[in-house]
Every structure is written in structure tokens, then in C-alpha cells.
Symmetry: C2
Subunit: 390 residues, 2 copies
Amino acid sequence: MSVFLKEEYLTRVAATKKAMEARSIDLLLISQPANMNYLTGYDGWSFYVHQCVLVSLDQEEPIWIGRGMDGNGAEITSFLNKKNIIRYQDDYVQSLVKHPLNFAADVIKKNGWGSKRIGLEMDQFYFTHRAYLELEKDLPDAVFVDANALVNWVRVVKSENELEFMRRAGQIAVKVMDAAIKNINVGSRECDAAAEIVKAQYAGTPEFGGDYPSIVPLMMAGEATKTPHLTWSDKKFKADEAVLLELSGVYKHYHAPIARTIFLGSQPPELMVDTGKVVIDGLAKTLEFIKPGITAEKIEAKWREAISGSAIVKESRLGYSIGVNYPPDWGEQTISLRPGDKTVIKENMALHLIPGIWYEDVGFEIDASIQVTANGCVELYKYPLNIFTK
Amino acid sequence: MSVFLKEEYLTRVAATKKAMEARSIDLLLISQPANMNYLTGYDGWSFYVHQCVLVSLDQEEPIWIGRGMDGNGAEITSFLNKKNIIRYQDDYVQSLVKHPLNFAADVIKKNGWGSKRIGLEMDQFYFTHRAYLELEKDLPDAVFVDANALVNWVRVVKSENELEFMRRAGQIAVKVMDAAIKNINVGSRECDAAAEIVKAQYAGTPEFGGDYPSIVPLMMAGEATKTPHLTWSDKKFKADEAVLLELSGVYKHYHAPIARTIFLGSQPPELMVDTGKVVIDGLAKTLEFIKPGITAEKIEAKWREAISGSAIVKESRLGYSIGVNYPPDWGEQTISLRPGDKTVIKENMALHLIPGIWYEDVGFEIDASIQVTANGCVELYKYPLNIFTK
């Protein structure tokens, strides 16, 4: 049984078809796991083999195509009719002579879509160059159109059900960061702290079980605080070192990321304290500024203005859109808070603002995960905006 | 500091160059995270943006190309010289006007490789169709060759250091399955059991810290035992239902997968018991048969022969090669134990045999993770080959 009611999925499919029509796309072939989930409810860790969902303007329900053994999983987790769940044989898997996209092309031809305008997610992981070549070879009469992020853009304004899931994720995020702060101590191993963090992620709250995040706990201690995407080792935490944490609460694949900085000592270095003050103040001013009608780049400009009296230079984007996701990314790959992004912010969008600093001499992370409301924004969780000292 | 000594990486690079020469490839562009790690030591969760490693016949060390903020991570985790770590600016990330592969093409041209024969991993996730298009546009004089799985095939015979890591992963695997069997009980939530399982994965043993697996805990209870790739929910386990588990111990990204079946009652259904007997017996006979010199398909044929007196039909492959890996797959995407795979088995290969059964009326999983030795094979861990009843 799918997580949401069939009606919610059909609303999403209808919005997707509207976006397809606007770009004269007759048939959409989707393989990003979050997009497959969003349109059908399908939820399995089967995305290490080729699989896809087809959305055609002339059919109400999408078609799921995947590996034979995963068809029962699609029956269990999606809202789709059994007849729309189509399984390929196992000898298509990682073969040099057959490719799952040959099978998908056969399904497309059988449905009379072989000469249609077909939209493809041309720059998303899970759609390889070879996938394209096989389609091109098998569908010589089709016209292929880049529909990268088409469904991601449909996802960008959340439904009330989705926002409720993100608030649950926010409740889990608080427990996750609590577990991190409790278990990161001088002399304990990084892996043992990561174990307690991930335990909190999966267990969730007594009311809402947790889920796996699209990104494992990022944990940078000591020298590693000059970079944002490392994971733990079996080293022990040392006195007077900082630890950067980028984590998330997750409920049924909906994310509420949470990032904080710990200092293992009573007195963090002056540079870290000063950096923290500027960043925290800048984040607060930026949050006050966010409301429907402004553009993504204006949010970033507000942030830049707020920190302009300081020595801080942040070259990377300030944040991005969040929602349902699967590894390797909890970012939606739509809105980026940076110069040039002219997306107009709307009610019920959700953003992760992470003004992280990863310099050679100081690292600092703090963040906010927010929902845009009618007049401003609201955080998915409340968590102290401090450097945590221990 | 990289996990292995520089010499081990240079040996791997040399073997890769030999494979390149055999296919007349001058330059190899690699973006599969496991291959990047294998050739350089680089270890960061940054593979949600485009990044790559270049291996050129005319340079001893590879070049790492990635996002600016991840350059420090490459300095920390890889063996590479600083000058071989090249960072692109943040506005290449998920942009519609610039693409990280444009930057990679510039690096290729600057090094005089713009008209070389360039090998690409054309069917691996993390190398999108658009990545190819950008390279094709920017390097009009280059000749592109499919080098999919070229490095994967170099990885297929493990070094003694790698095998030691896999044995450590095997020790962790035992603790992981112990945690699963202890925490899966009638009335407890699936998510709470998953939380204890993943805690055991990350914590590892007192001697060896664990790592994140390339596949999260797969856990199918009740109706879901008819499919292999679902994860947990917040439902409670019920009496007299079976639970299938496919897990792994992991040490520094080296995997030792472990799969078992639990029945929450004293007497599993007759069909499950009978199926279990046949599968366990067939697996034992197959393991006795494995040794260097036979082919992958012969191993599968032996399995089929061993179960031929039963009603069991297994359509999916019996197993595959394992080693270092990153999400979404711990399979190496080289050897598949199935008809048609004529790979000759060699000493120090490592295989995961998983004769799982996912029928409508019965599900059953059990497995073995093995190293091929001079005369046979040895398991990476010992764990009882039972249906566990509780």
C-alpha cells in the first residue's frame, strides 16, 4: 500500500503531464528514485540496477519497469495497478549483451509510443550515457528531449501531507542532533558516535519511525573541519578540537537536515567564535527576509549583505530546495540560493539554508530547514543556534 | 592520509594503465566513487555532484577533479600530490549554463589530451548522458571509447591488504547479524530493529570501526518476503511471520554481506523449512566446488545441479563479485554467477553467493561471502546456516 492515497499521486501525475505539455513532451521516462517515488509511491533499494517509470499523456497511471524480483516490491509499495508493473528478466542485469533500456524500449513500442517526443532526465545519476544510446538505437523514430529536473520542479511546492512528513522529520532531526551532542566526547571513537547518530535517525520518535537519509552522517573533526563531506573513522575525538556535523531527520524519505558545530573544550578559538557570531546573525536576518514573492538570488543577496561587515567570504551556494529524496543527495536539484537563480519563492516550498564555512584555519556549520508560509517562513524544527562546547 | 600506502595505489594505477593500453586508451575518465577511491584513496560523500579522476598513460599519478569545497577532503584522504587535486568553482554545481564536465574538458585540453583516445564509464551511475554530451562538445578532436567497468575488472583480484579489510568486515558482519537476531521480536517496530542493526554496522568491533554499507539494511517481514529490496517501516513485527535480512559488515568501504532468515515463532511453515533445507544444502555443495580455474557459469551450474531434485527454480543470478564499494551497490558489476559468464575464477577473488528465494508463497534468504584461495575458498565469516526461530 502506498504511503499517500492514490488521489495524491494522481494529482502529482497530472501536474507532471501539464509540465510535459508545456514542453511538447508526449512520454516521460523517469529513473531518479525520488521522482519514481513521488509519482508512484515505489520505495525499494533497487536503484542499483536500471529501472524507470513512464508517464504518457494518453494514460492516467504511470508504468513501472524494473527487475523481475522487484516487481512484487512495486506491488507492495506503489499505488499502481498490477498491469502497470512490468518486470524484466534477470539476464538483463549488468550484462554486456542485453540492457534493461532495450526492454523499456520494447514496452514503449508495444504501447505505440515509438515515434513520440520522449523526455529524458539527461543529467541525473541513474540515467547513464549507455541508457541513452540503447534507447536511441531501439527507437529510431522517437525524438528525445531533455526533461532533466522536470519532475523535480513539480516537487518544489509541497502538499500539506508532504509538509506534515517534513515536520515529523524535523522532530526526528532534534533527536538526531541530541544524540550527536551527547555521544561526541573526548576519547570516544568517531564511529561509535556515528553509530548513535544513525540509530537515532532510523529509530525516529515513538510516534514516527525514522528512515535512512540520502546522505550518511557527515562528521568532520580536527583537521577535517576544512572540508564538508567526509565521514567518520575509528579515530578518537581529541580535546580542544572542533567537530562539524551535517545530519538529517528523515520520515518516509522526507528530509529535515540539521547542521551544528561542537567544540570539545570550554573555550573555542576566537576566530571560530567570531565566525559563528557573524554566521548566526546573518542566518537570522536571512530567515526574517524570506517570504513568497522574492527570488532565490535575493535571499542570498540578503545573506551577503548581512555578513558584509565581516571578513567572511562564502563562495558556495547558501542553500537549496529539499523534500523527498534518495541517495546520493537530499537536495532537490532545483532552487539554489545563489546569484543568478531567479526562481520566485512560493508558499509551501521548503529550503535548507546552510551557511557553512570550511577554511584552512576555521570550520563552522549551522543551518535552518524551513517551510515558506503565506507571509514568511517557519522552521521545521527549533534547535539552539550555538557552538556547543563540552 | 590515504588508507593504504602510496605504493599500493600506484600498483593499482599501473594495472589500470595496462588495461588501458590493451584497449588503446590514452586517458581514462573515472567517476564511479569506488573506482575513484580504489585509484586515489579519495573518500568523501561528494558524489552527489559531478567529479572525476583522470588516469593518463603519460603521468604517474592520477588527477582528481571535484567541487572546490571538496578539494581539502581530497588532500586529506587521497595519496595525491596537491598539484593533482583540481577544484571547480561552486557555480558549476547543478547549473543550467555551466557543467562540471566543461571544467574537466578544460583540464584535459590544458594537459594536451584533447585529441587523445579517452575511455569513459558509459554505463555507470554517476556518469550521465549530459556528462557525455558536454565532453563531446568541448573535445571535438577526442575519440571516446567505452571503458565501462575497466577499473572494476582491475579490482576483481584483491591484494592481501584488501583481503584483510574484508576479513575485518566479516568480523563486523557477525556482530551485525547478532544485533538483528537479538532485536527482531514480535511487537517491536521494524525501524527500531533497523536502528540497532545499523548501529552495529557503524560501530564495528572494538578493534575495527565500521563504515556505512553501500546498501542500507534490507528487511522484509510478512507479506514483503516475496521481494528482496525493501527497507523497514514503523510497523511492528507479528507472530508467525518470517523476516528476511540482507545486511553487510563494512570496513573502510570493503564489504562482507550477510543474509539470513528469521521466523518469529517456534515452527516455520513446512514449505519454508523444506526450501531452506534444499537451499542450504545446495549452497554447501556449491562452496565445496569453488576453486581457481573454473568459470563463473560452472559455479552456477553446480548450484543448479545441487537443487535439481527440488521444486526450486532460481531465475536470478546466484552471486557476484564484491570488494570496495559505495552506494548504491556493493556488487562490483563484474562477475555474475549465471549462465554465460565465462570468467575464470582466480585466487583472491571475493564473491557473494546469495541463493535467495522470493516467491509469492515463501521467501528465504541465506548467503556466503567468500575469498577464493589457492585450492578452494574460505568464508569471510562463519555464521550458522539456519532459519532462526524465536
